[in-house]
Amino acid sequence: MDSLDTITLLAFLAALMRLDNSLPADLQNQLNEIGKTFPSNVSKLHALAKSYSPLEQGYKNARLALQKDGERFRFALPEPDESSQLSDGKIIKFAIEVLNANDSVNLVKKADKESSLLGQFLFQLQRQTMSELGGVPVARPYPSREVESNISSDGWEEEEKSLDELLELVEEWEKIEYSSEEAEAFERVMERLKKE
């Protein structure tokens, strides 16, 4: 794949992540056809995205952001060593899975929520393609309406029980012994979180 194909593929994945619903059956079939011949027909994703309005804007935005920023986001992932990097091969393998899936939207969203390197990669891709477009914040969304409805439906007893359980856990965790290396590593974690 050349660099344009890479941008097309990544922008398409980013746009899929933003869909609320699965693709219509005919569009999913077209995607599966492209998947069968991957990577020779990656450029067809461009036309496919533009043919479906819920996908089109997300795709365009993501593409603009990626073109503007090249592949910088690939290197924006905090990587302590080479062994934890997500290889191009794994990204391509995942792309093939998405293109050939019965429900591509569901698959890419599921992977995005995982705490794996692939999940991190997709999160970074999502953040990169959103933050370039007017500074949409993705770091700490506080959905107040959801919280209010969620909490007002329960009694305080449930909340109190939850806090009691947490206190029990904290007492248990206080007994855990950490090595000096672990303590230093944790300090690095806290420093990085302050900067994020």
């Binding site: 993705v138 506080y142 305080w156 206190l167």
Partner: protein, 87 residues
Amino acid sequence: MKRVAFLDSGLLGRVVNPGLLREIKPWIQFLKEQKIALRVAEITDYELRRNLMLEKLRKSINNLNKYRQTQRFIPITSEAMLEACEL
């Protein structure tokens, strides 16, 4: 309506690592006394977990997994993302 305290990733890190940062327990007791509910957004779990994984802090990750089993998380939704823009 109850009051709600949201944990950011720094505070969540303190909660799941009380052996390293011991001041968190009185704070949780204070929340209980004041009848303040506790919530964590899914994205906060991600931010902390990613950093713990990068440092291979298995004990802390195990604690975070236990935390997930007992406490309530706020999922990331399209509605939440849009509303977050207004804050």
